[in-house]
Symmetry: C2
Subunit: 324 residues, 2 copies
Amino acid sequence: MRIVVPAGGIGGARFLRGLKKELGVGSDPVGEEPAITVIGNTGDDITLFGLRICPDLDTVMYTLGGGINEEQGWGRADESFTVKEELAAYGMQPTWFGLGDRDVATHIVRAQMMAAGYPLSAVTEALCDRWRPGLRVLPMTDDRVETHVVLDDEAGGRRAVHFQEWWIRHRAALPAREIVGVGAEDATPAPGVLEAIEQADAVLLPPSNPVVSIGSVLSVPGVREALERATVVGVSPIIGGAPVRGMADACLQAIGVETSARAVAEHYGPELLDGWLVDEADEGAAVDGIAVRSLPLYMSDPEATAAIARAALDLAAELKEQRA
Amino acid sequence: MRIVVPAGGIGGARFLRGLKKELGVGSDPVGEEPAITVIGNTGDDITLFGLRICPDLDTVMYTLGGGINEEQGWGRADESFTVKEELAAYGMQPTWFGLGDRDVATHIVRAQMMAAGYPLSAVTEALCDRWRPGLRVLPMTDDRVETHVVLDDEAGGRRAVHFQEWWIRHRAALPAREIVGVGAEDATPAPGVLEAIEQADAVLLPPSNPVVSIGSVLSVPGVREALERATVVGVSPIIGGAPVRGMADACLQAIGVETSARAVAEHYGPELLDGWLVDEADEGAAVDGIAVRSLPLYMSDPEATAAIARAALDLAAELKEQRA
């Protein structure tokens, strides 16, 4: 059984933990082909203080590898912020990024390997050698793609900021007029991405942000086309008209999509999406050409999340059989 | 009164603290010309993990700026080592360098400014904007000079390692066959260095390592010549045949100089050195052409250190008057 999961940060990582549990995947599949391949969003990546920071890849790696801060869902457990405080004492900008000391080491290793010429995919593999997340983590691309957000400026014009600045510094409170994946057009999928999709028994879209996480993965030329040939079942990140967590509504608004389970499925479209899981609160949501099932979608604990993963796998198997 | 002090790390920094006390220099001479200019050794500098580390400049800056770990004499007070431990967990080498979290921020700022094209002298000034050491800290040069130590290898030949590797990793226990300032020949003094020496009422050599600290400063073309024209009084780093602290004897041995107050003065030579302070234990040490005075030389507290600084200033004034 080979499963591919395009993923963002917290929602993706928690879904993956449930999926691993459901499939009985251990922490260290040395010597065997990993059952699960993650295609991680890198559009959130940012270079600060000479460090290369990949928030979504790290959230997946830390969560599956046992290093995550469970309460906040990102960053390392037992984290301190000495380096960040000292940088601020020197007057270094920006001060709004939550850079933990343990995290700094990860970014130093990554920045050093990249400066030495290693592609991000090789760096990610090296970092996972320590974390042993029990699945293969591929960045969506080795090329530099950065999500920028277009905002109104004070002079009545427009200005663009890095996604992280909008998301963290402004808490997505400034209206986003456009969300742009800078560099996406010219990017190529990282080694293994298209092959993994082609060989997948199922592709599951976790309840990650459909615009800046999954949307970013889809923006890499060739990825959407490959996914359209696969059996894809998605888990709605919207329950009862609101994001389960995070500020996905602000992103959906920016691209003119309503914040509803149905509208997100329509946005993905029936070419991409074969099946769609919605919460019981959204029972009755229907989209032409997409098989919709409803069940409890809150990932309240690993057991609840495993049940969601099971439902997604079952629907994918059912749809695949219908196709054959 | 203008004083110039070529300095290494701990010994130099502690001497400077006594000198400041003696001269009544506060922590923040904003708006006035600093009375003391330090010419800091940069031969110990090393790049690790993409960070630019200047141990001697930082020891001076932290000590005079109130951030030093008093007990060990180097590094920051209230320091933690999370980044270092995490780098080791990733398998990053080397693991022998004592890289503290607070210190990491200093090195990030420096590396970032240097990557942006600022010379080390400008970076040092920017860092001192935070620390306000109450004196002007100049690196000896903006060029890259690295002290390397030639050791025996196992095959009967020779190998060279960075000074830090010999000093910290091997605790200077491997016999040094040669000590080489790589890049020194082609270096030029940092802006302000020669001017400060020319305008100095006195140049004081603190009890820093005569080989790898003061020797390194002297190796920058033009510096020794300028010092030979100035009134220079040195404080012996050797008391009763042993270094006051550190492993200066291992360095002296490498260049064939006996570990004694007299031998170090002879090594500096009467062209450079006008006066020489030795401890009472070395009373009677005499060197042709150098005025030797004996007094208690242990820098046991700021008061004792201020008395040493006073004696050095008095001797310099006396010698300058004789010259005139």
